[in-house]
């Protein structure tokens, strides 16, 4: 499995093909429904070149960095994603398929969509080395966390050429959550 350093370098990004399992190393930011709704009005951090993880963790028990932290359904963020990609977002991590608009925008802005295994929140939490809330603390689990990840396992779901793994698996692309 290839280790990928974040932020993504163009050369690396363009070499990623759908179906490849890679290990992410570096900084990612969580954001889900409520955060996206706010973000598109005013960005709380510079998203250029960054990767967003669609996730809302469970609270960290004493002695732990974070609680369970697996991906949520990406499709719910589809209406916001093309705009964020236009603003410079380079990567997304989530579960499930995306709308055709997102696929088109991913290709147009040379970005990438990674799939994390849905429900694997316990395993994925162990790949998170530090976590800090940087915005929207009052949203609770929907706050934006800055996470430092080490060997965080994901699969390339949509590559920068607009190839989509879900088209391969289910034969159709649906814009549904």
């Amino acid at each position: 499995m290839r280790k990928i350093k974040l932020p993504l370098e163009d050369k690396v990004l363009n070499s990623l093909k759908i179906g490849e399992i890679v290990l992410l190393n570096g900084i990612i930011y969580t954001a889900r429904d409520a955060a996206h709704k706010r973000m598109i009005k005013k960005l709380p951090f510079d998203i250029r070149g960054q990767v967003i993880y669609y996730a809302g963790p469970t609270p960290a028990p004493p002695g732990r960095v974070i609680g369970s932290c697996g991906p949520t359904t990406s499709a719910r963020m589809d209406i916001y994603t093309p705009l964020l990609l236009k603003m410079g977002l380079k990567g997304m991590i989530g579960k499930g398929n995306r709308s055709s608009d997102v696929i088109k925008a991913t290709k147009k802005y040379k970005a990438i969509y990674f799939v994390a295994i849905g429900g694997a929140g316990a395993l994925l939490s162990k790949k998170i080395k530090s976590a800090k809330i940087i915005a929207y603390r009052n949203l609770g689990p929907e706050a934006i966390y800055k996470l430092e990840v080490e060997d965080f396992p994901v699969i390339v779901g949509i590559d920068s050429f607009g190839k989509n793994i879900f088209k391969k698996s289910s034969g159709r692309v649906y814009s549904a959550f």
Binding site: G19, I21, A34, A55, G56, P57, T58, P59, A60, P61, R64, G67, S68, C69, G70, T72, T73, S74, A75, K95, G96, N97, V115, I117, G118, G119, A120, G121, A122, L123, L124, S125, K126, L139, G140, P141, E142, P153, I155, I165, F166, K168, S169, S170, G171, R172, Y174, A176, F177
Partner: protein
């Protein structure tokens, strides 16, 4: 008349919320293991990851999934039992304490169309009550994640509609929403009753153990047929393609009106969490 106190309900519910979220149902785990043996490639990888995750959750005490759900509580209340205190409030308090002490996520918001403020303690829970014989209280808790809850559907069919039309509705629902609902899925199907009854049946059917045969022969045949068709969709574990899109189809039926045929599908992700106790 036997009497139980609200306090014992509070502590039992709290414990069940925690157990359910850390330890997966053994029948589901077993079924995932079997599925892993017949898959290859990314499907095998996804199932291996899922099984590793289940073990990490149990051993290291980390919730299986970060979506620790909205707590769905089934109460079977013996008619000869007297509860000292407020039964429903005791269940809510149990959920409140269980989610706090178990470091589980608060995922409930107050006004669905309003501000959508997080209530901060994962209440209110959804409580279904049923009066039964005897003097015991049976409590079953299903923390229900919304990745799969969102993939559910209900349709009022006509009695004259063909079986094919009904099967298509179920299969199309899985085809459309399945990849996002964390497959391999467990498909709960409620048939009959009224609008709300068939939805409850679909949810209740998820409590049946995988591999335990349906007592109704017609339902059993339909379950088998639907499972085969759903697994031929190719969605596979995590939606990445494969043979295992669903682990089981569970059907529950109830008599209905001469003019109707309600059908509800309630989908569960592979992390079908459930814990129960009898007081």
């Amino acid at each position: 008349m036997r009497m139980i106190y609200g306090d014992s309900i509070v502590s039992t519910v709290a414990k069940l919320c925690i157990t359910a979220n850390y330890k997966l149902r053994t029948d589901v785990k077993q079924s995932l293991k079997i599925a892993g043996r017949r898959e290859k490639g990314l499907a095998k990888y996804a199932l291996k990851t899922i099984l590793e995750n289940i073990d990490i959750a149990a051993k290291e005490h980390i919730p299986i999934c970060q979506d620790t759900g909205m707590a769905v509580v089934f109460l079977e209340i013996g008619q000869d039992l007297q509860v000292k205190g407020n039964l429903i409030e005791a269940v809510q308090e149990g959920v409140r304490i269980g989610y706090k002490n178990g470091y589980l996520r608060s995922s409930v918001i107050d006004e669905p169309l309003g501000e959508r403020r997080n209530t901060g303690d994962n209440t209110p829970a959804i409580i279904h009550t049923n009066i039964t014989a005897g003097d015991k209280l049976k409590i079953a808790i299903l923390p229900k994640g919304f990745g799969s809850e969102n993939a559910s559907a209900l349709q009022m069919f006509k009695p004259t509609d063909s079986m094919k039309k009904i099967e298509n509705f179920i299969i199309e629902t899985v085809r459309k929403y399945g990849p996002n609902a964390c497959p391999p899925l467990i498909i709960g199907v409620g048939i009959g009753g009224t609008f709300e009854k068939c939805a409850e049946l679909a949810k209740k059917s998820l409590t049946r153990q995988i591999g335990k045969l349906n007592k109704d022969l017609n339902s059993r045949k339909l379950e088998k047929r639907l499972l085969k068709k759903i697994n031929s969709l190719g969605i596979g574990p995590a939606g990445l393609g494969g043979k295992t899109t669903a682990l089981a189809v569970n059907i529950e039926t109830y008599p209905t009106h001469i003019a109707g045929l309600p059908i509800a599908i309630n989908i569960s992700c592979w992390a079908l969490r459930q814990a129960q106790a009898v007081i």
